[in-house]
Each structure stands twice: as structure tokens, then as C-alpha cells.
Symmetry: D2
Subunit: 393 residues, 4 copies
């Protein structure tokens, strides 16, 4: 009997997959849940569900630190943002897939399975990663059998699969954000109800007192909040906590999916908004204008690759090389004020500041203003020439 490793969340889709793989595909199923910072019960429940529906072997793989250090920290350095979305789910998919591939090797499995339907982005993100690092077959039972949600429910009932109490929205959570979609939110004119949010306070309920905060960066990544050094995992969690408390990080966008469909998406990404805002403020102080400008191009390319599931594209690694070099100097402190959903930069400093003595001395008497006159006179030469040749005749 062939063996398959299934990425398993304990939800309806993947639970149905277990049975389908056993019954229709006649395979031995090993399940695995990769911890990338989901809430604790989403880590524990899959193990129980797997046991309940007759899975012999279930793995829980802790990838939280790797996710923080190797994925989220890269995203911060890149200011990664796709159409306003800081790429939480997109960033986790390749890591989950890599962990599943590792496990499949260890288990000498013949195939890897996932529960994605044929409608979303995640099938692309999973499969390109798997194909990039494994020769296993890939099985997507729900998609390949073209099951509707109703058909899945029927199948679950018939096969004693516990059907989760109906959630209104489709939710995905990890360390870098929480996404909310589906149901009434599919209408772009419907305002997202307050009960959809879990990570962020409404601005109404956020503290009346603003909070001032210092974030310290070293080589482009956050290392301390208000002077307290933390590791990658801790600092992201703390950033989520503080910013969420102040109602920061609710994102409501129309997003272009990989296949070109527009979808309406809600996200809660308080830590991402806080840390990327602070990071950009420090870049303004330490990078040259040329770097800031080219950096925007890098951010755009990087974000698209990640969103599109192309973590294993060599260009992603190429871009990390330029980013890493630029970020060597992005060290220092940024002071921010958080209040009722708003973030404001108050101050910043860095040992690599390009706002330097040099520049300041330029401002005073040592500079002869007349030096600049010639520059001004010869500036915009082509624009003036164009206007004269082509407009004023």
C-alpha cells in the first residue's frame, strides 16, 4: 500500500481528505500539522481529530522560530506588502510545504497530499514548493474530485468525520497575521462586522491613552521594544499584542489573486504594520535616495514573488542578496506613538545616519550660496529646451 503524507489542520477539508485517501486512493495516510504560530488549540486539535478518524501516525512540527527568523524577518527587511497586505498566509505556505516534504522523505512516502480546493492561491504555493524540492506525486483530493462544500459535508457525515461547528468566515492564522474571508464579506459594499476581528481592538475600544514606544533594529530586523531585547518569535508576538491593543492593523482590500480573480479580503496584521512602519522610518535615515528608490522596486518584485508562491524562484534568493547588503546599515532606534488605530513616527536615530554633521555644516555659513546658482541655472535643461523647441516656437 502506498504511503501519503497529508498537511493536516483538522478542519473539514483535510479531514475529508484523510478518508478519501484511505478509501478512494487506498493509501496509508500520515498526517502532519506544522506550527507557524496558530493559536494553541489549532495545534492540539489536529492531533485529536487525526486520532479520532483513524490516522495511525500524526506529527506536530514546530516551525515557529524558523518562520519568524527565516521568513518574517526577511519580509520585514523587504518591507514586503502586496496591494496593502503584509503577506502572512503567503509567507507561511512554502515553509509548511518544506516541512511536509522533509517528513515525506523521512517517512519514505510515495505522495504528498493537501486539502486545497481549486479556487484559491494556496494550491499554487504548496505545489510549487513541493515540486521544487521533491519528486513525490501530489494529490489534492477535494480539488481532483471536484467536491463542493455540501458534498464534503455529506461525505463527512457518512464517514463519521466530526464536522466542525459552522464558522461564519474562512480564517487563516499564523504569527504574521490573521485573514478573514467569505460569507457576507464577499460583497465589497458590506462593512466587516466587529465580531470578525480577534487580534485587534476597535478604535472605539482601544485605550484612551496613547502609548509611546521605541523599536530598536539591528541590520534591518527588530531586536528590542522599549529597550528589552527579544528573539524573533517574541518580538513579533509582542508587536502583535501592543499594536492590536491599540486597534492597529485592520486591512480591508480588494486583492488580485494569482489566477487574476479579484477578491475582497480582511486581515488583522498589527505587528506587521507596526514593525514595517518603524523599519521604513529608519531606512529613510540610513539609506541613500538611490537606495530608497531602487528599494521600492525590490519591494514590489519581492512581494509579488511571495504572494505568487514563488519562494523557490531563484530571483527571490537574488533579491535577498541585495536586501541583506542594504540592511547592514539599517540599525538604530525609532520612537512611535500608537493611539486608536493610528501610528505616528516621532523620532529616529542611527549610528549609520546619513543625516550627518556633513549635511548640517552644509546648511551654515561655510557654504557659499552662489555655488548653487550655477547648478540651478543648468538644472532642467532638457525640459526648458523641450518647451522652447516644441511649445513656444
Amino acid at each position: 500500500m502506498e504511503k501519503v503524507v497529508l498537511a493536516f489542520s483538522g478542519g473539514l477539508d483535510t479531514s475529508v481528505c484523510v478518508k478519501l485517501l484511505q478509501e478512494k486512493y487506498n493509501m496509508e495516510v500520515v498526517t502532519a500539522c506544522v506550527d507557524v504560530g496558530q493559536p494553541e488549540d489549532e495545534i492540539e486539535r489536529p492531533a485529536q481529530v487525526a486520532n479520532n478518524i483513524g490516522v495511525k501516525k500524526h506529527y506536530t512540527i514546530d516551525a515557529k522560530h524558523e518562520f519568524a527568523e527565516e521568513f518574517i524577518f526577511r519580509a520585514i527587511k523587504a518591507n514586503a506588502m502586496y496591494e496593502g497586505y503584509p503577506l502572512s498566509t503567503s509567507l507561511a505556505r512554502p515553509l509548511i510545504a518544506m516541512k511536509i516534504v522533509e517528513l515525506a522523505k523521512k517517512e519514505q512516502a510515495d505522495a504528498i497530499a493537501h486539502g486545497c480546493t481549486g479556487k484559491g492561491n494556496d494550491q499554487f504555493r504548496f505545489e510549487t514548493t513541493i515540486r521544487s524540492s521533491s519528486v513525490c506525486d501530489i494529490i489534492a483530493p477535494v480539488r481532483d474530485l471536484n467536491l463542493t462544500r455540501t458534498e464534503e459535508m455529506d461525505y463527512a457525515v457518512k464517514n463519521d468525520i466530526p464536522v466542525p461547528s459552522d464558522k461564519l468566515y474562512s480564517i487563516d492564522e499564523n504569527l504574521w497575521g490573521r485573514s478573514i474571508e467569505g460569507d457576507i464579506l464577499e460583497d465589497p459594499m458590506v462593512e466587516t462586522p466587529e465580531e470578525a476581528f480577534e487580534w485587534t481592538q476597535s478604535t472605539e475600544n482601544a485605550p484612551d491613552e496613547p502609548q509611546k514606544l521605541t523599536v530598536t533594529f539591528e541590520e534591518g530586523v527588530p531586536v528590542a521594544i522599549d529597550g528589552e531585547m527579544m528573539n524573533a518569535l517574541e518580538i513579533i508576538q509582542e508587536a502583535n499584542r501592543i499594536a492590536g491593543l491599540h486597534g492597529i492593523g485592520r486591512v480591508d482590500i480588494i486583492e488580485d489573486r494569482i489566477i487574476g480573480l479579484k477578491s475582497r479580503e480582511n486581515y488583522e496584521t498589527p505587528g506587521a504594520e507596526l514593525l514595517i512602519t518603524a523599519h521604513k522610518a529608519l531606512e529613510q535615515l540610513t539609506l541613500t535616495r538611490e537606495e530608497l528608490k531602487f528599494g521600492e522596486t525590490v519591494t514590489q518584485a519581492y512581494s509579488e514573488l511571495v504572494y505568487n508562491g514563488l519562494w523557490h524562484e531563484p530571483l527571490r534568493e537574488d533579491l535577498d542578496c541585495i536586501i541583506d547588503n542594504m540592511q547592514l546599515r539599517v540599525s538604530g532606534d525609532v520612537i512611535l506613538k500608537l493611539h486608536k488605530g493610528s501610528i505616528r513616527i516621532l523620532a529616529r536615530e542611527s549610528p549609520y545616519s546619513l543625516y550627518s554633521e556633513e549635511a548640517v555644516s552644509f546648511e551654515d555659513k561655510e557654504m557659499d550660496q552662489r555655488e548653487i546658482a550655477g547648478m540651478v541655472k543648468n538644472y532642467g535643461l532638457q525640459a526648458a529646451c523641450y518647451q522652447k523647441v516644441c511649445k513656444n516656437e
Copy 2:
């Protein structure tokens, strides 16, 4: 005696220029103040000052509507933003210069003068415009005589020029924003004191009640707030008022000046933040992914040209052509919530929405999910090939 037209604000720099032009350059001085939405007293005072210091002819030129329609509306359509700054001063300079050039023609003047020192951006913006549309000589007395502020003060006292009561900061205001710089703000670690702000409430003093707002756009420009149609000037003023009331639009950045100097700048641009945020939300609904992506490139190029004073570069006109065509479909309503410095998009709709029936039907039973399987399988082909050729053995 040669005649010169001087762009005149009634401040120390330009008042000193009047006398210098009369005494040292031996010219007949005509002054002009161009109204681009400054506070009313900044329009009235120049006329009085001009009279007091012996100017025979002073003009007040109302360019507010033109500024709103031909400059700010273009900036909104372009989402123009330079390093986080919505380009208020930069946008007004070419218009002011064009009005001065027109006047110089009417007055048959021999020269045009401005009061810029040799330290900032505005000398570039003024002079490229003037050189693009006039053959007049350009005189910048303060810069050309390399006067320090102290020397200017001395000269003013000796020549009975009224010295304005000392302002702490250097301020520039027009319809699209208010800039604050100088003094203690030159240290990027000093927090900007509350008294520096005039257009925006602090988040602490902003209303405790959030405000919901509908902004209506037609072909990329705002035409109504909460259903009330307004002309360009009115809607910008109203957007400034509402957003300022809610503490929105304080910008504190390290900015790269034209000559490459980093400077710390504070801006109040409440209307710009409100209108551009709403505009982008509507673009997400109505433009294709390809357009949104290329649009970012256009925004970057456009913003740089405007910041750098190159309004008369033909590329600016070229870019307006692509922008105007894209914006034909950016019509519809955006609902936002303003509260204590924060803006949140709640909903949006448009007759040109690309989030359409088409897309919705795609989501349901009519689509066979298996159709997508082949696409997924063949996606990321090169990334997988790269990993196999270059990494896996």
C-alpha cells in the same frame, strides 16, 4: 530703468529683495502674490507690506481654482507621494512661477526675481519653470549676494523694512498642505511639539466619536463627500477640515532634497491623506492587476518629477496621458471611517468594478476545479527546474 517682477510673500526674504532690487540692482520693482490657498492674511499682508516699503505696483493673483483643478487633481489621480510626502509646496511652485511669467509678459518686464536662498528646493522649482516659459533674466538677490539671515535682518532694520515677529519654524502653506521645518526640528530625535501644528488636532484632542464618510469619485477625482457635490476647491478644503479635525495627516519624515541633502520635515496634509487613501481603494476595485502594478511605477516617476521641480518635463505630460486613460474608470463610492488619526476603508462600489458577476460565477459550481489542476501543475516550472538543476544534487 529696467523692470523686474518679484514673487512676493511679504516675509523677510522677499521684503529685503524689494529694496535690494531697487537699490543695488537699480530696477523698478513690481510685486505679485499668487494665491494658491494660503490663509487669508497671507494674501492681504503682502499688499500692505508692498505699499509700506514703496512698491508702486502690487498684484494679487487668484490661482486657487487652477491649483485645485490642474495641479492637485492631477496629483490625486497619480497618487503622487514622494517619500511619504504628498507634494504640497512642490506642486504649487510651478503654478506660481507660471503666473509670475504671465505677469512679466504683461508688464513687459526685463527680469523675474524670487527670494529663495541657495539652500532649498524651491529655487530649482521656480527657475526651471521660468526658464521653460520665458526669456527673462532671473534674479535671486538673497542667494546671489550670499546673505545670511542676520545680514538680512540688519539690512531690513537699516532700510525701514518691517521685520516680521520671529516665527519659530519655517512654514509654507497652500491648499494641499502645510510644511513645518527648522529650529529644533532639525534634530531627527526631537519630537515635534504640539504647538507646531495648526491644521490637525492631536489624536488626544480629536473627537471621541468616529466619523463615517462617503467620498464619491468621477474619473479619478473626488466630486462629492457624503453625497454633496462640490467643486475642486471646495472638496479639498472640506477634506482638509474633516480629516484635520480627526487628527489625520501628520507626516514626519526624513526627506531627500533635490541636491541630495537629507532633511527632517513635518507636514500637515489631512485632505491629501484622506483623498488619496480613498482613491487607491477605488482603484483596487476598478483597475486590473497589471494596471495597479504599472501604476506604482507611474506614481514613483510622477512624484519624483514634481518634487524635483520638473513639471515642465515632457515626461510629466506623457505620464498624465497614461494616468488620464486609466482614471476614466475610477468612478464610484468609497466609505471610510475616521477616528483619532486613523483612516479605515469600510466599503466601496463602482459601475466599473472588475469584481464582477463574472468573477462570482467563477467561484461556484460552474467551474470545474479540475480545470485548475493543470495550471497549478505547470505553474512555477522554472523555479522547480532551477531547484532541480542547481540545488538538489
Copy 3:
């Protein structure tokens, strides 16, 4: 019986399609051949073949002038080039599809069919155009029945379909170029044999005498060669003739197909190479540096859209707006020398030249060189600051 319009070339694929549509799909087949500048016998043969295999209605649609004016001329203005390939086939597909859609409307057909297999780019180009402008079903019999070439041959023999004498290479020809692929050429280390070429002389057989040539442009498009005014179709044909004679326009590249497969492609595009080279030379004289630079970005985006079959993307129309505005000034003469595969620019002139009196006078005594000293001193400020802050101690 449902009616289908089939894009018909008279080759094996589309001939097989006729029978399949009649027999397996039970449809009434109308065939059409769209003339976009193929060799004459490729226009005539389809009509004969259609008749021979029992098609009742065959149309020949002359789109040569439209192809030249509305497609190729746009490509020249855009300097359109994808990885070194001037987009001949890619450019013709949307036009052919549009003509088929028009015919389907006229014929009140229920479906549109094409003979593409599932391996190439053309299925994408055809179908996005058709879906963009029609609600007809789309049928691709060879792909949808997953036929191999051998199976097609067998089917042809059984159904009295004339099997074309075996061609070594797969060829596609239109006014803008000739593509050659397949067989031994699939190995990137095999040199393309001389007999593969039909439009271009080998450099060995090209004339020993070089030819000097003047190409005249108006608003970005060629209007005369050596002073002789020609219409769009004529000038492209003449450019192909002259440049081909001199061995110009052989392109041998590794190309990235839409689905991400690399393929080795040979093209003969003599006219394209001649006209685009001349066009770029004239742009250097008439466009500003900012326009030339942004123009490269436009060229890249435009070429990708066209290659990828996205002629109907609104961004393509947006880009045409910026291109058309820039090209208003690209008028004038370019003198070139053609010899044995090489093109050299010798001279150029334009009424809109930005290489002007202005600039020349700048070179001489009127400019005080000291004016520039201050500019030079303040140039590269940030680079120097960076080196001092970050490198020198």
C-alpha cells in the same frame, strides 16, 4: 446543427479540425483564413483545401493594412521586443482572433474553433482575445482530444484529408517576421542550417557593396525610404526586402514561453530590425533623458503584454496613450548603412531635435565654467556621506 467558425490555415492541424468538428462535434463548419501578410500561396491554398474536404463556406479576410497600421506601427512606436524577438506572431494573433469573432457574429455561429495544440503560446493569445469580445464557446479539437501528431496523420489518411508534404520545421509567417522552430533546432547547440532561412541572405551571400539608406519618420512611424513616401504596408514590405537582402534580421534566442518553458527559437525579422533601430536613433535626438529612461520601462511592459497575448488588457491601451504622446515629436530622418548583416547609424536630424542651438551655445564662451563648479562640488553628496559614515573609519 450548431455552427462553428474555424480559423483555418489549410495545414494538417486545422484540416483535421474540420473533420473532427463535423464528425465528432457534429457541427456545421465555416472556415476562414485571415491574411496578415503570409506568402500568397498560404492565402490561396486554404480556400482550395477547404473546398476539397467538404467545407461549404470559406472566407478569406484581408487584414494586411489593418495589421500594418494598427499593430505593427504600434509595435514600432513602442520599440516592442521580447527577449530579443520583435513579436511577429504574437502581434498577429489578436487581430486574427478579432476577425474570426466578427465573422462568427455575422454568421451567427455558436462556437469558434482553433487548431492550437496544448503546447504553445498561441492558444493563450487566441482565447483571451475571443473571450474578451465574444460569448461564443471555444473549441480546440486537437488539444481537447489530446491528439499526437501521429494520431492526427492517421486520422487524416483515414478521412481523405490531404497531408501536406512533410516540412522539416514549424514555420509561421506574417508581415512582421518569419519564425522557424522544431526538429533539430530544439537542441540549443545545433547551429541553424542555412536552408532554414527564406527572408534573409546569409552574410556571405549578401551584396559586397554596402547600402546607405534614409528612413523618414513622422510621429514615431516610418513614412518614407530614401525620400519615397509609402503607406504602412508598403514600407514594411520594402524594409523587409532591403534589410533581408543585406542579411539583417536573423535572431536565434532561448525564449521563455507563457507557461514558463524555455524554447529555442529562430526568427527572420529584417524589417523590424531596420525600422526599430532607426526609430530608436531618432528618439535619442528628440526625447528627453527622462523620457528615454521611462520609455525603456514602457517597452518592457508593452512587449510582455503583447507576447503574453494580453492585447485586450486595458494596460495595453493605457500604454498606447503614453507612447502616442511621446511619439508626437519623433519625426525626422535617420541615415543608416546596411552591410552583410550589420546596421550602422550614420546621421539623424529632426525639427524637434533637443540637440539644439540652446545646447550648442552652452558649449561656448557664454557659459562660465565656474558656474558648474558648485554643482560638481555638491554632486554625489550622499555617496560621499555614506563612504565617510560607513567605510572610512
Copy 4:
């Protein structure tokens, strides 16, 4: 007496500078000629001239290998090209300036001098480098005294400075190219006379026999021609020799100078044209489509920085990081044919080819063409949606 190090070529400008520095500036002058691959007599003559006009200390600094390895090889990896010009002079200036700075340190000089006038690019390139790595004063006597050529000649005659026999054109030569400007060439409609060229044959005089050539690359740089391994210096010299013999590498462009002036420039860069053409062909085989596309953006940014004299911008180093990573796989052989000014790629291979077995197997029976049908159907979704929503109503 203060000491100055002067970059010295032995020509009129720098010879006049020697005397001016001695007489007018009252300084002790040390001269230095940096060898970046000029013709031998241009290395020897400066030493003699320096001696003749009373310079006590003259240095000849051999930087040929460093220029080849650290500058030209980087340019090849970047495909560096500014408006059609492969950046020969631009690339050498920072190296020359760095060598002069080193010498100034060794000599404990107080100042560094150069002979640039206020009209060209080189003053920017020299001075940004010097300011980036030295605190010496910079003196540009010809510019700072605003001397015309005639005034220089007069001064030379009066001071017994040998006036070079009048050259028609202004020439600059180094290992990577030869530039020719001035005199009649300033008219863009004048064809460059044959006698202006020294490195390249005319196509008429080039050999009647074509030459086939194999260039081998390792990690993005050429290491062998026709199997013969060579060091950087040798392979560039050999590429210049062979390509020049076949009439390759004459460039005639309208170029945008740093200050925005258009100038007409002729270059001979045979080696650059040969090596960059071959390099690009190998990149097509080994880099992904995403890398090739982003690579064009990198090339544009890199070339501008180098042309603009910003070698010391940190962005240049950042870009080298991404380039170096991409180039790790650009190894293999390219076969080209050179004939009468034309280069044609014939074949290419690489151990890192992405044109792989993988791809080839994709072409045959194993792929079910129907897999692609769904992809095609869902391709261009937004374009079709746009056409329906906005065009077809």
C-alpha cells in the same frame, strides 16, 4: 609650500595645469598617470612631458589588471550599457581617481588636481570619487580660471609648454573602448569619417571570410576564447582584437550627459559588443524569466550609476550583490559568428541550463494537453472582464 597631486595625461589641459598650479597656486606639483589600458605611448609620453616642464616627481601607476578584473568584469556581469554606450571612460574614472587618492595619501599631499573643464562628465566622476575617499582639497585649474582653449594655448606658448600637434578630435582610450568626439562630429547629420576610427575595420575592409568563435564563461565572466584560457586583461584585449578586425563595435549615438546636455558621441568598443552579446545569450539559457526581466531593471540602474560617476554610491555595491548571486550560474559556452560588422549567436550550452530534460519531457506524450485547457480558459480573466464591463456593455 603646499603639495598637490595632479592626474596627468601629458596633453594640453593637464600640462597647463602643472604650470598654473606652480605659478598661480604656488604649489609643489606631483604628477601621476594611471594606466588603464591606454596605448603604450600615452603611458610613456606623460613621464617625458612631466620631466620637460619641470615636474620633480612623476608616477606611472599600472591599474590595468585591476581595471579588467574589478571594473570591466563587473560591467560584463551587469550588461552595463548607457543609451547604447558600454561605459568605457565612465568606468575608468573612479579607478583613476582612487589611485590618485592613494598616491595623495602616500605623498601626504594637501590637494588633488585634475584638468577637466566645466563642460563634461569627467569632473563629476573624478570629484565624487575623491570626495568619497579623501579630505584633500580639489583643484580644477582650467575650470576654476574659466580658461578657453585659445587662452590655454597662449599660456602654453608663453610658458614653454609643448603644445601637442593639433588633434582633430577629442579622444579617450582605455581597455574597454575608445571615444571620439568634437569638431565636425558635433553636427549629428555629419557622417563620421573613416579616419576617425583606429580600433575597428570598416565593414568594407573587414575580412571576407566570417569567423566562428567560442567564448567560455564562468560565473558570468569570460575565461576562454576558442578553448584558450586567458586572464581578464588578456581576454578583453583579445576580444577587442578579433571583434575590431571584423568591423564590430562602432557606436554612433546622441547621448545625454550628466547635466542634461545632449551630445553626439562616437565609440569603438568591439570587445564590449562581442562579450556582452555572448554573455546575454548565455543568460537566456541559465536564468529564469523572472531573473531576466528583473535583470533589465538592474542593468538600467547600474549603467546610470556608472555613467553618472556614482561608483561609490552604496546602491552600486548593493546591485553588485544581486548581480553576483545571479551570475553564479552563468557558466558555459557560446558560439558566435563574426562577419563584416555583424555578430550572430549560433549555439550555446551550460551545465546550469534551464532548457532541460524536464522541459523536453514536458513536450512529449507524458503531458496531457487537456491539462492546459483549464489554464488557458482562466488566463487573461481580468482583460476579458474589463472588456465586458467597460467596452461591450
